[in-house]
C-alpha cells in the first residue's frame, strides 16, 4: 500500500515536475530575439506559480520511501550517491533561478538565468532517470554503498532511462504549453512553436522507448520479461497506444485530450516498470522483506490519506486558479479595493493583560515543576506575546513621524 502511494506520488512527480523540467528544456532551444523571448516568458509564466507544489511530490516520494522501505532507501542512496547528489544540485540551481528571475528584466541577465535554468532542468531529470535505470537493472544490492559507485548509474539502461526522462518531460511540457498558449489572444505563433516542439519531442521519446526495450534485452532481461507478460505487457501496450494517440491529437491540434493521453502514456511507462520489477525491489529483497512494521505502514497510510483530505482541495484550487489565468502577471482589471475605514483603536487594557499573562507564565513555566503547569505556562506566555504585540501597536507607533538623521541625508 505505501508502495502504491510512493508510485502514485512518483507518477505525479514525473508528470507535473516533468512538464516543469521540460519547460526549462525549451528555454534552451527558444532561440534569440523577440520570438524566443516570448517562448521563454510563456514557459516561465506558466510554471512559476506551480513549480514548488510540483516539486514537493518528490519530497513525498522520498519521505514515504524511507519510512516504509528504509533498507531500500539506504541502499539506493548510498550506492547511487553520485547521480542523486547531482540531481540535488540541479534542483538547487533550478530553485535559485526561479528565485532570481523575479528580480530582473534586463535581457542579458535574463539570458544568463534562462541558460542556467535550462541546463539544470536537463541535469536533474537525467540523473533521476539514471537512478531508476540503476535500480531496474539490478545494480543496487542491499547494504551501505554495497554496489559500484560508478557503473551502477553509468550503464546502458541508466543512460537510456535518463534520456527518456528528459525527452518525456520535454514532450509533456510542449503539449501543455501549446494548450496553455490558447488562453492568450494572438498566440498563434506560440501555439505553432510548441506544437512543432511537441511533435519532435514526442517522436524522440517514442524512439527512445523502443531503444530502451532493445537495451533491456541485453542489460536487464528480467525487466523485459516482466514487460512482455501480464500487467507489464498491458502497461506497455497502454503506453504505446497513449503515446501514439497523443501525437495524433497534437497533429490535429486537439491539445486538451492530447495532454491527457500523453499523461497516460507516461504513467503507463512507470506502471510497466513497477509491474516488471515485482516482486523484488532490490536484488534478493522482496517487497515483503523490505517493508517496515505494520504499525508504521498503517501510520503512513493513514497520515497520507488524512493529508490528502487537506491537500486535494488545495491542489485543485491552485491548478484551477493557475489554468484559468488567475495567477498570471499583468492583470486585466485591478480588483476593487476596500474603502477606507476607521483604524481599530488599540484596547487600553492590552498592555496590562500582557504583563499579567507574562507573570502567570513565569510562575507556571519557570517556578513550577509539573508538566501540566508547563503546558498552561506556555499558553499564558503565548497570550502575553499576543497582548504585548497588540499593546505595542507597531502600525500606530510608526504612523507618528519621528526624527530623521538629517546629517546622513545626501
Amino acid at each position: 500500500m505505501p508502495l502504491l502511494i510512493s508510485w502514485v506520488a512518483l507518477a505525479l512527480y514525473t508528470l507535473l515536475a516533468g512538464a516543469d523540467f521540460g519547460a526549462g528544456f525549451w528555454q534552451l532551444t527558444a532561440g534569440p530575439g523577440a520570438h524566443g523571448r516570448r517562448l521563454r516568458d510563456h514557459a516561465h509564466h506558466a510554471m512559476a506559480p506551480v513549480w514548488e507544489a510540483n516539486h514537493v511530490w518528490l519530497v513525498l516520494v522520498l519521505t514515504v520511501m524511507w519510512t516504509a522501505y528504509p533498507t531500500v532507501f539506504g541502499s539506493v542512496c548510498s550506492t547511487l550517491a553520485i547521480p542523486i547528489f547531482l540531481a540535488a544540485i540541479g534542483i538547487v540551481l533550478r530553485g535559485l533561478c526561479y528565485a532570481v528571475q523575479s528580480a530582473t528584466e534586463e535581457p542579458a541577465e535574463r539570458r544568463f538565468i534562462d541558460t542556467a535554468f535550462a541546463l539544470s532542468s536537463i541535469l536533474t531529470p537525467f540523473m533521476l532517470g539514471t537512478v531508476i535505470g540503476g535500480i531496474a537493472s539490478g545494480r543496487v544490492p542491499v547494504g551501505n554503498a554495497a554496489g559500484d559507485m560508478v557503473t551502477s548509474w553509468v550503464n546502458p539502461t541508466s543512460l537510456v532511462s535518463g534520456c527518456l526522462a528528459v525527452a518525456v518531460g520535454a514532450y509533456l511540457a510542449a503539449v501543455f504549453l501549446a494548450a496553455d498558449a490558447r488562453r492568450h489572444p494572438g498566440s498563434g505563433p506560440l501555439e505553432r512553436a510548441f506544437r512543432g516542439r511537441a511533435l519532435i519531442a514526442g517522436v524522440a521519446a517514442g524512439v527512445l522507448a523502443l531503444v530502451g526495450l532493445a537495451v533491456l534485452a541485453g542489460d536487464a532481461p528480467r525487466i523485459l520479461a516482466g514487460l512482455s507478460s501480464g500487467w507489464g505487457l498491458a502497461a506497455a501496450a497502454v503506453s504505446a497506444v497513449g503515446g501514439v494517440g497523443s501525437l495524433v491529437l497534437v497533429l490535429l491540434r486537439r491539445f486538451e485530450p492530447a495532454r491527457i493521453a500523453a499523461g497516460v502514456a507516461v504513467a503507463a511507462i512507470l506502471a510497466g516498470w513497477a509491474a516488471a520489477q515485482r516482486p523484488y525491489l532490490l536484488p534478493g529483497l522482496t517487497l515483503g522483506d523490505a517493508a517496515a512494521d505494520s504499525a508504521t505502514l498503517w501510520a503512513v497510510v493513514i497520515s497520507v490519506l488524512l493529508g490528502l483530505v487537506v491537500l486535494a482541495p488545495s491542489l485543485a484550487l491552485l491548478f484551477r486558479l493557475s489554468l484559468a489565468g488567475h495567477l498570471d502577471p499583468d492583470p486585466g482589471a485591478p480588483v476593487r479595493h476596500a474603502t477606507l475605514g476607521p483604524d481599530a483603536v488599540r484596547p487600553r487594557w492590552a498592555g496590562r493583560v500582557g504583563l499579567a499573562c507574562f507573570l502567570v507564565g513565569l510562575v507556571l513555566l519557570t517556578l513550577a515543576d509539573a508538566g501540566v503547569a508547563h503546558v498552561f505556562g506556555v499558553i499564558a506566555l503565548a497570550g502575553a506575546g499576543l497582548a504585548i504585540f497588540t499593546a505595542v501597536g507597531p502600525d500606530e507607533v510608526a504612523a507618528k513621524s519621528s526624527r530623521v538623521f538629517v546629517r546622513e541625508r545626501r
Partner: protein
C-alpha cells in the same frame, strides 16, 4: 574502517546544509504572520501603505521560500546520501514525521503560489485568507521536524531485540507522545520570530541611518521589531525551561554544556572560561547556581561527565562555547527588546537615539548566530550519538566515497546561492514604490 574516514566531513557537510536552511525556516515560520499582519491593517483601514508593504514583503517571502524549498530538498537527500544506515535502521520509526512535514510543505508551496501571484486577481478577502495556510503550514512543518529531533534526543516508541534489530515500532508514540520535544518547538518558534524580526528590522534600521525614514519605512521597521521584541524576553523563560528538561533527560549534554566533570551536589555555574583537564578555567564561578537552575534546589546533585566513558562524551568546549554564545546573545537581544518596549510605553514613540538603530543593525546577524549556536549546542551535545544512547553517528555514516568532492561542490553551490539571494533582495528593494502607497487622506507617503 572506510566509513569512519569520512565521518567528520559528513558531519560538517550536514552542519553546513543545516546552517544554510535553518534561517530560511525562520522566515518560513515567522514572516507569513508579519505579512498577514500588514495586509490585515490594509483590510481594516484601506490604507494603501500597508498593502504596498505586504506586497513587497510577499515577494521577498517567495524568494526565500524558493531557496528554502531547494535547500530543504538537499537535507532530504542528505539523509540518504550521508546517513543511509541511520535511515535503514530507524526510518520506519521517525520517517512518519517527515512524511507529514512533506504535506505541510506541500500546503505552504500551494498557498504561497496563490498568495504571491494572486495580488490584484483575487478579492481582497480571499487573498488574505489564502495567506493563512502559509503561516499555519510553516508552524506545522517545524513541529514535525522538531518532533524527529526530539526523538533523536530522547528516543522511544521501539524496542531492540537480541540481534539489535528495531522491533515493536510505534511511530506515533515515538514522535508525538514524546514529552521532550515541546520545549524545543517553543524555543525554535520564538527563535524564528527573533531571527526574522531582528534581521528585517535591522535592514530598515540600516536604511534609517542613511536617512530613509518615511512612514512606509517606519512601519516596515516597527512590525518586525515589535514581534522580535515580544519574543526575545519570552525566550529567556523558555530557554530556562529547555535547560531543565535537558538536565533531567540528557544529563550528559547538560554536563558538557556546563563543563561539569564530576557529579556534584550543589554544583556551581561557570560563566565564560574554557574547559580543560576536568575543570573550567578562567570562568566566573557562581556557587550552587547550576543546581538551583537545573533542579530548583541549590543542593541538588548534578550528574557529571564522569558517569559515562570518555568515548560517550561530547566535545565539551564546542558545546559549552556554543551554549554560552547563545545565552549571551539571547540576553543582549532581550535587553535591546526591553529598551524598545520601555521607550514605546513611556514615550509612546519609536526610539530616537542613533545608537539604538546601530545596535539593531547588528542584532539581526547576532540573532542568527545565537540560533545556530543553539542548534550546535543540542546537536553536538548529543554526540557521539545520532540516536541518543542507541546508535552512534559513526555507525550511521555512508560507505560511499567522494564525500570531500561533494563537500566542495555543495559549498560552492551554497556560496552561489547566498550571492544570488543577496543580489535578488537588493534588486527587489530597489523596485520603485507604487504610486498608490500614499495615504489618501493625509498625503503622507513613502519617504
Amino acid at each position: 574502517m572506510r566509513a569512519q574516514e569520512y565521518l567528520d566531513q559528513a558531519r560538517q557537510l550536514q552542519a553546513l546544509s543545516l546552517a544554510v536552511h535553518i534561517p530560511l525556516v525562520c522566515f518560513g515560520i515567522a514572516f507569513p504572520s508579519m505579512v498577514l499582519f500588514a495586509e490585515s491593517r490594509f483590510l481594516r483601514t484601506g490604507d494603501e501603505i500597508y498593502r504596498a508593504l505586504a506586497r513587497r514583503w510577499s515577494k521577498v517571502m517567495l524568494t526565500l521560500f524558493a531557496v528554502g524549498v531547494v535547500t530543504g530538498t538537499i537535507l532530504t537527500f542528505e539523509f540518504g546520501l550521508l546517513w543511509p544506515d541511520f535511515v535503514s535502521a530507524f526510518g520506519n520509526v521517525f520517517g512518519l514525521g517527515f512524511a507529514l512535514e512533506g504535506f505541510s510543505f506541500f500546503l505552504e508551496a500551494i498557498f504561497i503560489g496563490i498568495y504571491v501571484y494572486g495580488w490584484d486577481r483575487l478579492s481582497a478577502r480571499a487573498h488574505f485568507l489564502s495567506g493563512i495556510p502559509i503561516a499555519v503550514a510553516g508552524v506545522v512543518g517545524a513541529l514535525m521536524v522538531i518532533a524527529v529531533n526530539g526523538w533523536m534526543n530522547h528516543p522511544q516508541g521501539f524496542q531492540l531485540d537480541a540481534q539489535g534489530r528495531v522491533v515493536d515500532i510505534d511511530p506515533v508514540r515515538a514522535l508525538f507522545a514524546n514529552t521532550y520535544f515541546w520545549h524545543e518547538l517553543v524555543h525554535m518558534y520564538l527563535a524564528a520570530f527573533m531571527v526574522t524580526g531582528f534581521v528585517l528590522a535591522g535592514a530598515y534600521a540600516f536604511g534609517r541611518l542613511r536617512g530613509r525614514w518615511g512612514r512606509y519605512e517606519r512601519t516596515a521597521l516597527a512590525v518586525p521589531l515589535a514581534a522580535a521584541s515580544v519574543a526575545a524576553p519570552l525566550q529567556v523563560l523558555v530557554g530556562d525551561w529547555a535547560a531543565r528538561d535537558v538536565a533531567t533527560e540528557e544529563p550528559i549534554k547538560l554536563a558538557a554544556l556546563e563543563g561539569l566533570a564530576q557529579t556534584t551536589a550543589g554544583a556551581p555555574e561557570h560563566l565564560l572560561g574554557f574547559y580543560t583537564a576536568g575543570q573550567v578555567r578562567y570562568g566566573i564561578e557562581i556557587p550552587r547556581l547550576l543546581s538551583l537552575l537545573s533542579f530548583h534546589n541549590p543542593n541538588a546533585v548534578v550528574r557529571g561527565l564522569d558517569t559515562v566513558p570518555v568515548t560517550d562524551q561530547p566535545p565539551v568546549n564546542v558545546v559549552r562555547f556554543a551554549f554560552q554564545t547563545m545565552v549571551g546573545i539571547g540576553t543582549l537581544l532581550a535587553l535591546l527588546a526591553v529598551v524598545f518596549l520601555v521607550v514605546r510605553w513611556r514615550r509612546g514613540r519609536l526610539p530616537n537615539s542613533r545608537r539604538f538603530y546601530q545596535l539593531l543593525v547588528v542584532a539581526g546577524p547576532l540573532a542568527y548566530v545565537a540560533m545556530i549556536a543553539g542548534w550546535v549546542t543540542t546537536e553536538v551535545g548529543r554526540q557521539p550519538w545520532v540516536v541518543y544512547g542507541v546508535m552512534r553517528t559513526g555507525a550511521a555514516v555512508t560507505g560511499a566515497t567522494g564525500i570531500p568532492v561533494g563537500y566542495g561542490v555543495l559549498a560552492g553551490t551554497y556560496a552561489l546561492l547566498a550571492a544570488a539571494v543577496c543580489w535578488t533582495l537588493r534588486r527587489l528593494a530597489k523596485v520603485p514604490m507604487p504610486t498608490g502607497a500614499v495615504h489618501p487622506l493625509t498625503g503622507v507617503g513613502a519617504g
